[in-house]
């Protein structure tokens, strides 16, 4: 995409299960699709184990030998780099003490989480990426409500990791999601205030904000100085304000197991009935001369190649971004 904004595409929509998107030729096809749609950078999302070989730093290196080996792999498809990588320390991984369950809300877990972050920092620096995008805290239904102190505890560990990323020349961006224990605009602002603006930024995901009940455009305008990374996707639904607290909300809410039984929440840009004011949000980015990466994603849904092409069309024809 030829634009003053820098556009990247998230690969997570292809990696829908543990045993798919493993063969290199399947990954090449996805990368070529991204490239044919006009994107030349991608965002990776972490995973675990030998089949997450375009997700987990150690496994990527095992597959491609070195950072430059991986970059060569991307370049074969005319994808020129990695913008960023998403990591959730709350998600158990075999590489992290054999599926240990830890949370940023627990100060006793902080040393381990800081340790766990190091392979990501090294990898991202090695491939010339810019942002480590993280889930700052686990799901609300699993955690007692966080007071001001609780939020401060979470801020502490990210400040520590922010020092590491900073030293490696990377940014650290906290990615708000609609299930997180930091849920309201007030809580999110408190978390930002508990972190060091010099090293820790916010990853603003337009759909997650909307589902969670925060207006992405308004929030961005108020906190533009802290937003260092963007995920652009749409949603057709907002939480009623309660569903995110249902036990097992990852499934009961986001897979329609209970509540209103909505089986798919996230959609491509331009979807019918989409709630996000995408043009308004992108206009706000331009007004503020946003310099970070804008990562387009649509999460899991239908057909990944179709979603990538529809997103590309939207950028070209609704947002007027020339492809090349």
């Amino acid at each position: 995409m030829k634009d003053s904004l820098r556009w990247s595409y998230a690969l997570n929509q292809w990696n829908v299960r543990l045993d798919v998107f493993v063969r290199h030729e399947d990954q090449q096809r996805a990368l070529k699709t991204v490239s044919a749609c006009g994107f030349d950078h991608v965002e990776l999302a972490s995973g675990t184990g030998r089949w997450d070989n375009i997700s987990r730093p150690e496994v990527i290196l095992l597959n491609h030998g070195s950072h430059s080996g991986f970059l060569d792999f991307l370049r074969r498809a005319e994808v020129h780099g990695v913008s960023s990588m998403f990591w959730d320390p709350q998600a158990p991984a075999e590489e992290e003490e054999g599926y240990a369950f830890r949370t940023t809300a627990n100060p006793d877990d902080h040393d381990a989480i800081v340790e766990w972050s190091k392979p990501f920092v090294d990898f991202l620096a090695g491939v010339g990426a810019e942002q480590l995008v993280v889930r700052p805290v686990g799901s609300a239904w699993m955690t007692p409500p966080l007071g001001a102190d609780g939020i401060k505890v979470i801020g502490d560990v990210w400040n520590r990791i922010g020092e590491l990323t900073s030293a490696a020349g990377l940014g650290l961006a906290l990615h708000y999601d609609c299930l997180g224990a930091v849920h309201t605009a007030g809580e999110l602002t408190a978390l930002l205030e508990a972190t060091d603006p010099a090293t820790v930024g916010l990853a603003l995901d337009t759909a997650e904000f909307t589902v969670g009940g925060i207006d992405p455009v308004a929030y961005y305008r108020e906190h533009a100085d802290r937003v260092t990374h963007v995920h652009l996707k749409d949603t057709r639904y907002a939480d009623t304000g309660e569903e995110y607290r249902m036990p097992g909300a990852e499934s009961t809410m986001l897979k329609g197991g209970a509540g209103r039984r909505i089986e798919r929440w996230f959609y491509e840009l331009g979807t019918e009935g989409g709630l996000v004011d995408v043009p308004g949000f992108v206009a706000a980015l331009r007004e503020n001369e946003f310099g970070g990466w804008v990562v387009v994603e649509s999460d899991h849904g239908g057909n990944p190649a179709e979603l990538a092409m529809l997103n590309s069309w939207y950028l070209q024809h609704e947002l007027g971004v020339p492809k090349r």
């Binding site: 699709t33 239908g302 179709e306 092409m309 070209q316």
Partner: protein
């Protein structure tokens, strides 16, 4: 560089399936599925589309005719409809180019068809010039001559509408061997009958598409760029009742260009296109891409990626 400065523009031949709530549907299913199709074609950088003759009913029924449908295509940022493919029901009883007694029926078919399309300007109307192989064999000189006479007359009709009649040689059609193709063109009138090179079909028939093109370049009015992984063997080209889907040796003949293990040498093909000074449209096709777990969206993206990153480096 703008489209008008380019020597080559890319059109997409409209085979397409996506998954609907009741199973696979094509893009003509609804205005929404059509819009999603056109958006995806445009997003990957195609300039236009090709279509089938039998779609004209949906163009009239759903869009108010070819001109209005073309407007929808243009509303999605695409230039126009470039070619149409005339998929006829060949039958020895009434529609067999090598049987002169069926010619009047065929000519009448084209008079009617061209009238239906007359509200927009097409470049080519593409035909399979012969019946299925097993309905034409043995392929004799006389049969080739009758066939040529038939298309000379049809070509005159289409020329009256400013549209070129061009022949697309399926591997299972009566005229598919190198020798028969050459003979056929020696009997047809260059003013009225052109050649449309389908890279995969020739390759499956054991004919080198690059050499064929180089030999007939002055007669070529377009291309289907698609790939294959198999050459027909044994009776594949004359399998009853059908070769295209039912040949026992091969469950899926066609792949998008850029596929691994593809047999077509597209770089050589593109070099030949350049060296012959061809300017105009190349159509990309990958019919039945959804077979065996494949997916049209992805095949479309991968083939356009290949056109941009490999072929346009050779000639654009």
């Amino acid at each position: 560089m703008t489209a008008s400065e380019r020597a080559i523009k890319w059109s997409y031949m409209d085979h397409w399936r996506s998954n609907g709530p009741s199973g696979p549907v094509d893009q003509w299913h609804s205005h929404k599925t059509m819009s999603a199709f056109l958006k995806q074609i445009k997003a990957t950088g195609f300039d236009a589309i090709d279509t089938f003759d039998f779609r004209i009913w949906q163009m009239y029924g759903d869009y108010g005719g070819p001109a209005k449908y073309q407007q929808v295509v243009q509303d999605h940022g695409l230039e126009r409809i470039v070619n149409t493919f005339h998929a006829a029901d060949y039958d020895l009883r009434n529609y067999a180019p090598h049987l002169p007694e069926t010619h009047e029926f065929i000519l009448e078919d084209f008079r009617v068809t061209m009238g239906r399309w007359s509200e927009i300007q097409l470049d080519n109307i593409i035909v399979m010039p012969a019946t299925l192989y097993y309905d034409m064999e043995p392929v004799t000189e006389d049969k080739l001559k009758y066939t040529a006479e038939c298309w000379n007359k049809v070509g005159e009709i289409t020329a009256g509408y400013g549209v070129r009649l061009t022949c697309h040689h399926e591997f299972f059609s009566g005229i598919q061997s190198e020798a028969d193709i050459d003979t056929f063109y020696s009997y047809t009138d260059p003013r009225y009958v052109s050649l449309f090179v389908d890279t995969a079909q020739h390759c499956i028939a054991g004919v080198d598409p690059v050499a064929l093109y180089n030999r007939h370049a002055h007669r070529v009015s377009g291309f289907h760029f698609k790939d294959t992984r198999n050459v027909a063997t044994g009776d594949d080209h004359r399998h009853r009742p059908d070769s295209e889907i039912m040949a026992p040796t091969t469950g899926k003949w066609f792949y998008e260009m850029g596929t691994p293990h593809g047999l077509v040498d597209f770089e050589a093909m593109m070099t030949a296109v350049r060296d012959n000074g061809y300017r105009g449209w190349i159509s990309v096709e990958h019919d039945k891409a959804n077979k065996q777990g494949g997916d049209y969206s992805e095949s479309t993206a991968v083939s356009r990626w290949y056109a941009k990153n490999v072929l346009e480096e050779i000639y654009r």
